[in-house]
């Protein structure tokens, strides 16, 4: 007959083995699954797009200039992606500026970014904010935005009207509705890729999606 002590030891042994098995299986055998969102994202009018409209794979990138890893992506990874995938029409990156802030300087800078992108040439403003993200707090930057407003009625309406603000608000609402964890986040064909990706890894991801399209 088993006495109480023996039953106790057998119980502990069983529980321990079970926990150990779970830890081992979780650590060594279960690979992280890529999360998938329910609905496909579609490009919006004020999105900042790097690449051709007809590109095969749209990559939705939730990012902002204040985030160090977003800047790292643009300065270290994007040039190679541009050369290999964007210039060849395979991929386009749809940048959705996402920054939940009440800071008026930041909001104005983001509004100016989407409006200049829509009605002007965004390349130089992108490079400027990318290299010195704190520039948006300076008087020189404010003067430049005022200059844009004075020079171009469409840009002025976009910045001062509600369009750009609504667009940025929509980005945040979408970001929250999709339960994304942070920036940068890439969404390709409903699949969510969190965080900064080195070129080699992003290349594998893009090649995978290109293969899926070709099949």
């Amino acid at each position: 007959m088993l006495n109480k002590k023996k039953i106790f030891y057998i119980l502990i042994l069983t529980v321990s083995i079970t926990i150990l098995a779970i830890v081992v299986v979780k650590t060594f055998f279960i690979k992280d699954k890529v999360r998938q969102i329910d609905n496909e994202l579609s490009q919006r009018d004020l999105d900042i797009v790097f690449g051709e409209d007809t590109a095969l794979v749209p990559v939705f990138l939730y990012a902002n200039y204040g985030c160090p890893y977003c800047r790292k992506f643009f300065s270290e990874v994007y040039p190679a992606i541009e050369k290999e995938y964007i210039d060849s029409g395979k991929v386009k990156i749809i940048l959705r500026l996402t920054f939940k802030t009440a800071n008026q300087d930041l909001i104005t800078a983001m509004k100016a970014s989407v409006c200049v992108n829509k009605f002007g040439n965004y390349e130089y403003l992108h490079q400027l904010i990318l290299s010195q993200s704190n520039i948006v707090y300076t008087a020189d930057f404010h003067d430049m935005i005022d200059d844009f407003i004075d020079k171009d009625i469409q840009v002025a309406e976009c910045i001062l009207g509600g369009a750009a603000y609504d667009y940025l608000k929509q980005n945040i609402e979408e970001f929250e509705a999709l339960k994304l964890k942070g920036v940068p986040t890439f969404i390709i064909d409903r699949k969510v890729y969190y965080g900064f990706k080195e070129y080699d890894l992003l290349k594998k991801i893009l090649n995978y999606h290109l293969t899926q399209i070709n099949n």
């Binding site: 030891y9 926990i19 830890v23 040439n121 520039i135």
Partner: protein, 129 residues
């Protein structure tokens, strides 16, 4: 005799599981560090910037492990995180022997000029179609 030895196995196994479970706790999110390029002094050893979940970020000298904390209460429009002073202190401690004050001034001027040039380009070409 054998039973006595067996009695200890559950405890040993439990201890092992506890060690594995505790030692494998994911610390991601507790503190976020990244390699940081100190643009004002290219000959300096690159510090690491760490941002704890609570409290201010700080620069970490790789060789000495010394921390240079930012102070968000000193933040200004041009120094959003209140890190300028921490950067200056890092430079003072780690870079002074490598470049002169004049060189440092020259580098800062060069950086300012670079930013101005980019600002000028953005101002002039953003609305050109």
């Amino acid at each position: 005799m054998i039973m006595k030895k067996i009695k200890f196995y559950p405890f040993l196994l439990s201890a092992f599981v506890a060690v594995v479970a505790v030692s494998c706790v994911d610390i991601e999110g507790e503190e976020f560090c990244q390699e940081f390029e100190l643009v004002t002094n290219p000959t300096c050893e690159f510090p690491t910037v760490c941002c704890p979940d609570e409290g201010d970020c700080y620069y970490l000298a790789p060789s000495t492990g010394k921390k240079y904390p930012c102070n968000s209460s000193l933040a200004t429009a041009n120094d959003k995180d209140g890190c300028n002073l921490a950067q200056e202190r890092y430079i003072e401690d780690n870079c002074d022997t490598k470049i002169s004050a004049a060189d440092r001034k020259a580098i800062k001027l060069e950086l300012t000029a670079f930013t101005r040039e980019m600002m000028l380009k953005a101002r002039n070409y953003s609305l050109c179609y």
